[in-house]
Amino acid sequence: MNAAPLVLESLAVARGDRLLFERLQLRVAPGEVLHLQGRNGAGKTSLLEVLAGLRTPEAGRVDGPAPGQLHWLGHKNALHPALSAVENLRYWCGLQAADPAGIGAALDRLQLKAARNRPVRTLSTGQKRRTALARLLLQRRAWWLLDEPLAGLDVDGAALVAGLLAEHCAAGGGAIVTSHQALPEDGLPVRHWRLQ
């Protein structure tokens, strides 16, 4: 996986008429995890949305991945409550032209066993988050943009995410992560960066 670095040049992002930040310069190389920090309302989610291509910046340039080269995990899980984890992921595979054969292995990896065929509405918050995280394994993509991936996860879950991130970086991928919890740092090339 030879990912190009992600470069932001004098980026300005607004929500409505409120300017969140401007003249932002940032360069993230593949092989590292950028831990995006900042107070509430600083614009972490908005910045991630700009990187994903969901939001148009007011000014500046993003040299980033195309939508097909990035995984987006928003703070919402993108799971329909009436469908099971497997059905939700199968739909995602159909939409993204991914191979649904990997769903079983991905759910195994996230330690979702018996719950995978129950409607998502009956799952716990952590189980839902694990299902959403399983998408990261269904298709190899260079950049992971994760908004609060640890929300609702227990200690084991957080360690699992750290493990996934470490593997991803070792394989030459990069990630930008917002998180209020500290990311487990052993063996993970984390760079902390604060959004002012």
Binding site: A14, R15, G16, D17, R18, T56
Partner: protein, 250 residues
């Protein structure tokens, strides 16, 4: 083609100062023309040989009806500019034009009804042009309602711009379908090339009408500029130039 004037006018402070200078003149000229046209229409123009004095309401009805349609087109054009170039001023123009358009449409509807009473014997007749004017009124109400439902003024304006664009495709279809459905109204008195070459109206009746049309257009221009100024102040309240301008006023 030199487009710098376009970009300069697109900058909120420049536009604001420009509108501040222009709007009073437009308003004064509009009132003058409407006043003159009103006088001429009521006292100088001869009574119609069929409709008597009742026809004189056309000096309000026809201009407002014509302008109500052009405001919708203007709103859609501003919407396209707002969506393509992400221009804040165009967003503000879309949102500002809607209530003015709705008011013009309402005036056209009310004067049409008042005219209908002596002509058809009822305030409301399901006549093709009154009906499509009514639909136009609802289309304006839709834009206003959509705009007020959003918290984020920017997303609101962009949604309104899309609604206006889809609406402007719809307007001629509505007009045509309603005409297909029913036709009872007299043909258009004014707005065709042939009518100007060989006017169906006598010139004594026509010139106050043209004058009132110009006056109402200017009135719309003045109202639009003022509304846009107000919205600009509100949306740019955090900007330096608004603080400076408010400082100058006190």
């Amino acid at each position: 083609m030199n487009w710098t004037w376009f970009h300069r006018l697109g900058s909120p402070p420049t536009f604001f100062r420009f509108a501040e200078k222009l709007a009073p003149w437009l308003a004064a000229l509009a009132l003058l023309l409407i006043g003159l046209a009103g006088y001429a229409g009521l006292f100088l123009a001869p009574p119609d040989y069929q409709q008597g004095d009742a026809f004189r309401i056309i000096y309000v009805h026809v201009p407002t009806a014509a302008i109500s349609l052009s405001i919708y087109v203007l709103m859609a054009v501003a919407g396209a500019v707002a969506l393509i170039w992400r221009m804040k001023l165009a967003e503000i123009a879309v949102v500002s034009a809607a209530p003015i358009g709705a008011s013009f449409t309402a005036v056209a509807l009310i004067t049409g009804m008042l005219w209908g009473k002596p002509m058809w014997g009822a305030y409301w007749v399901w006549d093709a042009r009154l009906t499509s004017e009514l639909v136009l009124f609802f289309l304006y109400i839709g834009v206003i309602a959509l705009n007020s439902a959003f918290n984020d003024p920017r997303a609101a304006a962009r949604a309104c711009a899309w609604l206006a664009l889809v609406g402007v495709v719809n307007v001629p279809i509505v007009k045509y379908s309603v005409e297909w459905w029913n036709s009872l109204h007299q043909g258009s008195t004014l707005l065709s090339v042939q009518a100007i070459q060989k006017p169906k109206m006598s010139f004594d009746m026509l010139w106050p009408l043209l004058m009132s049309l110009a006056g109402f257009y200017l009135l719309f221009g003045a109202a639009l500029l003022r509304r846009m100024q107000n919205l600009l102040l509100e949306r740019e309240r955090r900007a330096r130039w608004v603080q400076d301008w408010l400082g100058e006023q006190n």
